[in-house]
C-alpha cells in the first residue's frame, strides 16, 4: 500500500519552506523570553519609590520572573539601566531564589510532549499578556511579585522551550543555522525593548507601560500560530502497541531510529502515549524521559553545562559596575553592554552558519567546548584590560564568545540526544542548571564584596568556564570514540543474517543520505542494541 510504504521512507524534516517561518516565530518567542525580564529593570526605580520598598524587594520581581523562566539569566541587565541599579542587582534576592521551584522547565516539556508546541506557546503568550495587564493595576509589591514574577514568568517559560523544540522538528541539515538565527532573537529584542521601555516609561509611567507591554507580549501568540505542527495526522502506521508503558517508551526510541524528525512521528508519539502508560512512573516516563540520565552524552552535557553556568552570567551583571568602578562614566559603561549585545546579535547566526558547515557539524561538540573555553579565557584576561579601550575590546570578544555559546547551547543537546528526546532533555537540563545559574552572580557578588576588587570575580568565572570547556572537550572526545566503537560493533553485527537487517538497512540507507549527521544517529544506535528483538517484532511491517 503506497502510503504505508512511504511512511517507512518518509522524507526527513523539511529543512526549509515553512521552517523559516517557524524560525521567525521562534526568534520572537525566544527574544521575549530572554530579553523581557532584563528590560523590566528600567521600571524598578520608579516602582521602588512608589511602593516605598527597598531595592532588594523590587529586584525580587525580576528574580522571581527569571526563576520561573528557563535559563533566565539573572545576569544580563538592561543596557539603559543605571549603574547604581546594576550594582544592586547582586542583592540577596537572587541568592534566596536559588531555592525557588524550577517547575516550569519540566512542565513545558511535559505539555509539549502532550499537546505539541503550538498550543503551549499560544497559551504562554496569553498568560504573559494577562500577567502584565493585571500588573498594571497592582496596588502592592506582593501583587507585583505574583503578576509580573510568577504569571508572566511562567508564560515566558512556556514560550521558550517549545520554540527550541519545534526548531528541532523542522530542521535537521540546517539545524545549526536555524538555531543560531532563532537564538539571535534575544539580543535583538533586548536592544529593541530597552529604548522602547524607556520611551513607554517617559510617556505613560510604569502602569501605562505595563499595560502596553502586556499587549506587546501577545505577539508571542502570533509566533505560536506560526508553529504549525509538522506532519499531517496520518493513521497510525505502526502496529498496535500493548498497553504497557515500557513498550511504548521503547516504541518511541525505535521511532527515533527509523526516522529522525519524521513527519509522522508526532502523531505517533501522541498515539503511543494515549494507548500506553498505566503505571504512574511509566506514565511520567513518557512525558519526561528520565531514562536520559543513563544517556552518556546527556550526562556529559549536563555536568559540563552546570559547571559552565556558574561563571557564565556573572560577568555581564558586573561589567557595568566594574566599568564605573575604574572610573568610567555611567553612559559609556551602559554603552559597553550595547556593544556586547550588538556583537552578540551578529555572532549567533554566524556561529550557526559555521556550525552547519561540513567541517564543523560532525565535531560540533568540540566547537562548543572551544567556545566555552574561549569565553573563559576572555574573562581571565579582563583584569588586564585598562581603561575604556581595553574594556571595549573585552566587550567585543565577550559578546562574540557569549553569542557562540548561546547559539550552540540547544544545538549540541539536540545533537547528543536526538530530536525526539530533546523535549524531555531540555526540561531535565533546566532543573539542573537553574540552581547554578542563579548562584553564579551572587557568588561573584560575594567575591567582590569580600575582596573589594572585581578581578577575583573575573578570575573565578574565567577559571570555571575554562574548566568546563576542557571537561566537555575531553569527555566528548571519549564519547565520540565510544560512539565510533559502538558503530563498528553494530556494523559487525550487520554481517549476521538476522532479521534485524531490514531495520538496519533502512537505517543505513538513510545514513548514507545524511552522512554528515553521523554523530546524531550514534546515540540512537546505542539504545537499539538493547531493544533489537522487540524492535524487530514491531517493525516488520
Amino acid at each position: 500500500m503506497p502510503p504505508l510504504a512511504n511512511a517507512g521512507q518518509a522524507p526527513g524534516p523539511p529543512d526549509g519552506g515553512w521552517g523559516w517561518a517557524v524560525v521567525c516565530g521562534a526568534f520572537v518567542s525566544i527574544g521575549f523570553a530572554y530579553a523581557f525580564p532584563k528590560g523590566l529593570a528600567i521600571f524598578f526605580k520608579e516602582i521602588q519609590d512608589f511602593f516605598g520598598t527597598s531595592y532588594s524587594e523590587v529586584a525580587w520581581v525580576s528574580s522571581i520572573m527569571l526563576a520561573t523562566t528557563y535559563g533566565a539569566d539573572g545576569k544580563k541587565r538592561n543596557q539603559d539601566l543605571s549603574i547604581r541599579d546594576q550594582a544592586r542587582c547582586r542583592h540577596p534576592s537572587l541568592k534566596v531564589l536559588s531555592a525557588a521551584p524550577q517547575l516550569p522547565g519540566p512542565i513545558s516539556s511535559i505539555l509539549v510532549n502532550r499537546y505539541g508546541s503550538r498550543p503551549v506557546v499560544i497559551f504562554g503568550g496569553l498568560l504573559c499578556g494577562i500577567g502584565m495587564v493585571s500588573a498594571a493595576f497592582c496596588t502592592s509589591i506582593l501583587q507585583l511579585y505574583i503578576c509580573v514574577g510568577f504569571i508572566t514568568g511562567f508564560g515566558l517559560a512556556l514560550n521558550l522551550q517549545p520554540s527550541v523544540i519545534i526548531i528541532g522538528k523542522y530542521f535537521l541539515k540546517r539545524r545549526p543555522i536555524a538555531n543560531g538565527l532563532a537564538m539571535a532573537g534575544s539580543p535583538v529584542m533586548l536592544c529593541t525593548l530597552a529604548p522602547l521601555n524607556q520611551f513607554l516609561f517617559d510617556n505613560f509611567g510604569w502602569r501605562g507601560s505595563f499595560l502596553i507591554l502586556g499587549a506587546i507580549l501577545l505577539h508571542c501568540c502570533v509566533a505560536g500560530a506560526l508553529f504549525r505542527p509538522i506532519g499531517a495526522p496520518t493513521p497510525p502506521v505502526k502496529p498496535q502497541v500493548t498497553g504497557k508503558g515500557k513498550d511504548a517508551l521503547k516504541e518511541e526510541v525505535t521511532e527515533d531510529a527509523m526516522e529522525m524528525g519524521s513527519p509522522t512521528k508526532v502523531p505517533m508519539e501522541d498515539k503511543v502515549e494515549e494507548e500506553g502508560g498505566k503505571a504512574c512512573c511509566e506514565k511520567i516516563n513518557q512525558y519526561l524521559d528520565f531514562s536520559l540520565f543513563k544517556h552518556r552524552g546527556f550526562l556529559i552535557y549536563l555536568i559540563g553545562n552546570v559547571l559552565m553556568f556558574l561563571g557564565f552570567f556573572a560577568p555581564i551583571v558586573f561589567l557595568a559596575p566594574y566599568a564605573k568602578h575604574i572610573g568610567i562614566d555611567e553612559y559609556s559603561a551602559a554603552f559597553l553592554l550595547s556593544i556586547l549585545a550588538i556583537v552578540d546579535m551578529i555572532a549567533r547566526p554566524t556561529t550557526g552558519i559555521i556550525a552547519n558547515s561540513k567541517w564543523v557539524r560532525p565535531q560540533i561538540q568540540y566547537f562548543f567546548s572551544f567556545s566555552i573555553a574561549f569565553n573563559g579565557t576572555c574573562h581571565l584576561l579582563c583584569p588586564l584590560a585598562s581603561g575604556y579601550t581595553g574594556l571595549v575590546i573585552y566587550a567585543i570578544f565577550f559578546g562574540l564568545a557569549f553569542g557562540m555559546v548561546c547559539a550552540m547551547l540547544f544545538e549540541t543537546l539536540m545533537d547528543l540526544v536526538g530530536a525526539a528526546r530533546f523535549t524531555s532533555a531540555v526540561g531535565l537540563v533546566t532543573i539542573a542548571e537553574c540552581c547554578t545559574i542563579l548562584l553564579g552572580p551572587p557568588i561573584g557578588g560575594t567575591l567582590i564584596d569580600t575582596f573589594g576588587d572585581y578581578k577575583y570575580m573575573f578570575i573565578k568565572c574565567g577559571a570555571v568556564m575554562v574548566l568546563a570547556g576542557t571537561f566537555l572537550f575531553i569527555m566528548n572526545y571519549y564519547n565520540y570514540r565510544m560512539l565510533a566503537k559502538e558503530e563498528k560493533e553494530r556494523k559487525a553485527k550487520e554481517e549476521n543474517p538476522k532479521p534485524v537487517r531490514t531495520e538496519n538497512e533502512g537505517r543505513n540507507s538513510w545514513n548514507k543520505e545524511t552522512t554528515r549527521d553521523g554523530p546524531e544517529l550514534e546515540p540512537l544506535s546505542k539504545e537499539q542494541e538493547g531493544l533489537k528483538e522487540e524492535v524487530n517484532g514491531i517493525n516488520e511491517v
Binding site: 519609590d49 509611567g205 502596553i212 502570533v222 500560530a225
Partner: protein, 360 residues
C-alpha cells in the same frame, strides 16, 4: 598651567558626583591637597598626585589657628562686626575650617573659577597662588574683591595671596575674586554657594485616582528643614500636610531625603512642584514636574496592539487552512492519478497474461 587645588573637606561642584567623599577627591586629576600655612615655615609642596584629606570633625581646634588669626586681620565688608563675631566664633570647638587655592595663571581651556559649597557656618581661607615659573615677576599688585567691594588685609606669602573669611550668614555668600596685575593680568574667582538640590528633569507620570510619590534628595549635606511648594498659577504655595492629611503626606525618610506623597490625584494636581531644603546658610530649591493622565491614554495603544495581534493570528491560521486545502486537492488528484495508473496496469497485465496464454 592651571592646577586647581583644593584643601579641606568641602566638596567642589566641579566634580558633580554626588557620592564623592573627601577621600574621593583623588579622582580628579590635578588635585592635590596642600596645606598652606602662612607665617609658619612649613614645607608644603607635595607631589601633584597625592592627596591628603582633612577630617572635618578634628579640624579647627581654635588654638592652632589663633596664631594664624593673629597674623592676619580678617577682611570683609564690615570689618568691625566681623571682628566681633570672630571673637565669639573662635571659641566654638567644632567650627570647620577650610582652605581653597587657585593656581595662576590659568591653563587655556580651564577656567580659573571654583565653586565652593557651604551649608553651615565656616571659616574659610581663599588664596591665589602664582605659579613658580612666574615667581620672577616683580611689582605685582593683588586685589581681592567681593562683588564690587575691595577687601583689604590680604595674607601674603612668598607667591600666594589669600584672605580669611568667616561665613555664618547667607548674606556673606557670593563671588570672591582675586586679580594679579603685573605685566599680564591674572584673575581667579571663588563662588561660595549653598548646596544645590536637584529635582527631576523628566516629568513623573501618574494617573487619575492613583498616588504619586515625589522624592527630593540632598547629596552630602544635611538640610535642617524641608518644605514643599506647589505652583498655583504663578505663585508658589507651601503644602501643609497636616491641614490636608488625606491628600498630602510629607515624609522625611532620612536626613537627606524627603518624600511627598499625593493621594487621589486629579487633573488639577498636574503641574510643577518645588522642594526646598533649608540650610544654616540659606535655602535651595529643586524642581519636579507631575503629569496626570487619564486611563484612556494608554488604553488606546493597548487596544490597537491587541487588534493587530488578533489580525495577524487570524491571517496565519487562514493561510494555513488555505494551504492545507491546496495540499489536499493536490494529494487527491495524485491519488486519483495513481489509481488510474494501477487500473491501467492491471488491465495491461491481464491482457499480457491472456496474450501469453494464447501464445503458449
Amino acid at each position: 598651567m592651571l592646577a586647581v587645588k583644593a584643601t579641606g573637606c568641602a566638596r567642589t561642584e566641579l566634580q558633580k558626583d554626588p557620592t564623592v567623599t573627601t577621600q574621593d577627591a583623588s579622582h580628579s586629576q590635578a588635585n592635590s591637597l596642600t596645606k598652606m600655612q602662612t607665617g609658619l615655615n612649613v614645607s608644603s609642596p607635595e607631589p601633584m598626585t597625592t592627596t591628603r584629606t582633612v577630617n572635618r570633625q578634628t579640624q579647627g581646634s581654635p588654638s592652632d589657628h589663633l596664631t594664624f588669626g593673629h597674623n592676619v586681620s580678617v577682611p570683609g565688608p564690615d570689618l568691625t562686626t566681623q571682628e566681633f563675631k570672630q571673637e565669639t566664633k573662635e571659641h566654638v570647638s567644632n567650627a570647620t575650617f577650610v582652605e581653597y587655592e587657585i593656581l595662576l595663571p590659568g591653563v587655556s581651556g580651564t577656567s580659573t573659577e571654583k565653586n565652593i559649597t557651604l551649608d553651615r557656618a565656616t571659616r574659610i581661607e581663599l588664596s591665589c597662588r602664582l605659579d613658580n615659573k612666574y615667581s620672577h615677576l616683580k611689582s605685582l599688585q593683588v586685589t581681592w574683591k567681593w562683588g564690587n567691594e575691595t577687601l583689604r588685609h590680604i595674607n601674603k606669602t612668598e607667591n600666594s595671596w589669600g584672605i580669611q573669611l568667616r561665613i555664618w550668614d547667607n548674606s556673606q555668600l557670593g563671588s570672591y575674586s582675586c586679580t594679579l596685575k603685573g605685566e599680564e593680568e591674572m584673575h581667579a574667582v571663588f563662588h561660595l554657594q549653598v548646596p544645590k538640590i536637584e529635582g527631576k528633569e523628566k516629568p513623573i507620570v501618574s494617573y487619575e485616582g492613583d498616588t504619586a510619590v515625589m522624592i527630593c534628595k540632598s547629596y552630602g549635606y544635611t538640610p535642617t528643614a524641608w518644605t514643599w511648594y506647589m505652583t498655583n498659577g504663578s505663585e508658589q504655595v507651601a503644602i501643609n500636610d497636616s491641614l490636608l492629611a488625606d491628600k498630602y503626606v510629607i515624609n522625611r525618610v532620612s536626613a537627606n531625603v524627603t518624600h511627598l506623597k499625593i493621594l487621589k490625584l486629579t487633573k488639577e494636581d498636574d503641574g510643577i512642584y518645588w522642594c526646598e531644603a533649608g540650610f544654616e546658610l540659606g535655602k535651595s530649591k529643586g524642581k519636579l514636574k507631575l503629569k496626570v493622565l487619564s486611563l484612556m491614554v494608554p488604553l488606546k495603544p493597548f487596544l490597537a496592539i491587541v487588534a493587530e495581534v488578533i489580525v495577524l493570528v487570524t491571517v496565519v491560521f487562514l493561510y494555513e487552512i488555505y494551504s492545507k486545502k491546496k495540499e489536499k486537492c493536490a494529494a487527491d488528484e495524485k491519488e486519483f492519478d495513481q489509481i488510474e495508473q494501477l487500473k491501467s496496469e492491471e488491465s495491461n497485465g491481464l491482457e499480457n497474461s491472456s496474450t501469453r496464454h494464447r501464445k503458449i
